[in-house]
């Protein structure tokens, strides 16, 4: 009996941290949270907008069962509103404009009517309100002792196709509430952050005689051409320290993956197959996970830098055309219907190289371009469903997906 119990314990422990195993937390088991509004400045439309933004963020942190009712109360009122009496947590906040025109917010978190946390926020312009909402959700998540949601504060850069061969590059927050068009005019695709600070980015320009890789410094607005190649030129990944790039180029009409070093400005070939090798992704800076059609259909492979051996990583699906890697985890796009005559479904799947478990992460439509957050906690992706293009976020450990639709155009590619 003791042996059996030990065995059970061992099995439980070995699977405990595996994100490929679905963690289904019942909604009822999450603590309830209501939000009370006490704002003195700004009109009702803006107040409601901020409330909605905050509710969305609190939902995405996935640790509360969030009540969506908009209720107002005095910030210093001693009791919560009567409808919230049974709530485990109540978040009360006030947004206001100060004498210098800054946007301010202050919050207090009440647990069973007792104040357990408070904090104030300030920002120059009210148009950046969504970043305050993200910061509030981030801080509450930290206060609750949950794994970090630092990705919530990162910027997303994406390419939006607005007409055939016309696109714009947009910097946004992860919910698309804030959007700033940084490159417009022409056909520019595959933007990729150049560093952790997110103040420089690469992108592919398809307007010249040859596809070119360009680099933009956001602070100065300076654009620099890095390299050009006939046929194809894409920056697929940037190493953590920003000194190495994985490029897909085709100088002789043959798409292959190249390693480019930013300090020497020299590149070397990583793959050498006569078919298609694309979408190189660094794993711990020493291995490259990529997409190749070397078996006659697109699938996910890996190769150690400096080695000739190529390893097939995925044995499920007949068309796996895009991937992102984070330590032992790989998320990939798989075609689930395969013919030219009907609408196709593409779903994202997660696999662990340690356990070989596969978990399907999406259910409907065309789901593509998955990108892990740096800490592996979340996956950002593009969803196209019924003529609506959205950016989605998957919270792996909470088994939840959230979608943020785009108002116009179609997302071509993204990075964060």
């Amino acid at each position: 009996m003791k042996i059996l119990y030990t065995l059970f314990l061992l099995i439980s422990l070995s699977f405990a941290g595996d994100a490929t195993i679905e963690v289904i937390k019942k909604v009822e088991s999450l603590p309830s949270l209501a939000v009370e509004e006490s704002s003195t400045s700004y009109d009702d439309t803006f107040k409601l907008k901020f409330f909605k933004s905050l509710i969305a963020d609190l939902n995405v942190i996935s640790i509360f069962n969030v009540d969506r009712h908009y209720r107002q109360v005095d910030f210093d009122a001693s009791d919560v509103v009567v409808e919230n009496k049974d709530m485990k947590y109540v978040l009360r906040y006030q947004v206001f404009e100060d004498d210098s025109g800054y946007f301010n917010a202050k919050i207090k978190l009440l647990k069973e009517s007792q104040e357990v946390m408070n904090k104030s926020y300030k920002i120059k312009k009210k148009d950046f309100y969504m970043f305050i909402a993200h910061a509030i959700a981030y801080d509450i998540n930290e206060f609750m002792g949950e794994p970090s949601v630092a990705w919530m504060k990162r910027k997303v850069i994406f390419s939006r196709v607005v007409a055939p061969r016309k696109s714009e590059l947009v910097i946004s927050d992860y919910t698309l509430s804030y959007q700033h068009i940084v490159v417009t005019g022409g056909f520019n695709v595959f933007p990729k952050w150049a560093n952790k600070a997110q103040n420089k980015f690469y992108y592919t320009s398809l307007d010249g005689a040859k596809p070119s890789l360009k680099k933009v410094d956001i602070k100065t607005g300076k654009t620099q051409t890095i390299l050009s190649s006939d046929g194809m030129m894409i920056c697929s990944d940037v190493s953590d320290d920003g000194t190495k790039l994985l490029l897909t180029m085709a100088p002789k009409g043959q798409p292959d993956i190249y390693l480019y070093k930013t300090n020497t400005r020299k590149y070397s070939k990583v793959t050498n197959y006569s078919g298609i090798d694309v979408n190189g992704q660094f794993v711990n800076n020493e291995e490259v996970v990529f997409i190749s059609n070397r078996l006659g259909y697109p699938n996910v492979f890996s190769k150690k830098l400096g080695s000739r051996d190529v390893e097939q990583l995925i044995y499920y699906g007949k068309s796996n055309a895009a991937c992102s890697a984070n330590n032992e985890y790989i998320v990939y796009k798989s075609r689930e219907s395969s013919n030219a005559f009907t609408k196709n479904t593409f779903n994202l799947h997660l696999i662990s190289r340690k356990t070989d478990f596969i978990r399907r992460l999406t259910a409907t439509g065309v789901n593509e371009f998955p990108r892990f957050s740096k800490d592996g906690d979340a996956i950002l992706f593009i969803k196209n469903y019924k003529a609506q293009s959205s950016i989605g976020i998957i919270r792996l450990n909470h088994n939840k997906n959230y979608l943020f639709p785009l108002k116009y155009g179609k997302v071509q590619s993204l990075d964060w």
Binding site: K119, I123, H180, D207, A209, I218, G231, Q254, N279
Partner: protein, 176 residues
């Protein structure tokens, strides 16, 4: 415990000001309202607007371009099918004769099933297949350039099989 938090993300976003005019234009607005800055129309000379009529007796570049017929491909395929071979042969004849003084730009395209790199590579392999066929017919390889537009240059946007097959193609453009 009270503290003032000014998000570093926001600080960085506030620093968009001071951009200079570039091609393509980098927005110089520090306003956060996602204001779209007008494109600089004249700075990018693409193959479309770079066509200049010669005005001589010979056929103009745009007229020649119209004579070159696009090559269409099967679903997820980049080999030239047998029914397309005669079109490629005709294209090669034009490229060798009247269009021999121009550079031939082959533009690979795909249907709407994917914006990822693989789809771009598929478009490129289609362009490369046409290039190899043209070279086999005697066209000078050094006069051919290639580009792939993936799914982002459709000629047809209906959700039908006929429409998707029109988008799986290689177009010909002439460059002076």
């Amino acid at each position: 415990m009270k503290s003032i938090v000014l998000s570093s993300v926001v600080t960085a976003l506030l620093m968009f000001s001071g951009c200079s005019d570039k091609d393509p234009e980098v927005s110089s607005s520090s306003n956060s309202n996602a204001q779209e800055v007008e494109a600089v129309q004249t700075e990018t000379v693409s193959s479309d607007n770079g066509i200049i009529s010669s005005g001589s007796d010979s056929l103009s570049m745009s007229e020649l371009e119209k004579q070159l017929s696009s090559v269409y491909f099967g679903f997820d395929k980049f080999a030239i099918s047998s029914d397309m071979k005669s079109d490629v042969a005709t294209d090669a004849d034009i490229a060798k004769a009247n269009a021999s003084s121009y550079t031939l730009k082959l533009e690979g395209n795909c249907d709407e099933w994917g914006s990822d790199e693989y789809n771009f590579a598929l478009g490129l392999k289609r362009a490369d297949a046409v290039k190899k066929a043209l070279v086999a017919e005697g066209v000078d390889a050094s006069k051919i350039t290639m580009v792939s537009y993936g799914e982002s240059n459709p000629t047809c946007s209906d959700k039908t099989q006929a429409c998707w097959s029109k988008n799986r193609r290689v177009d010909f453009k002439l460059l002076p």
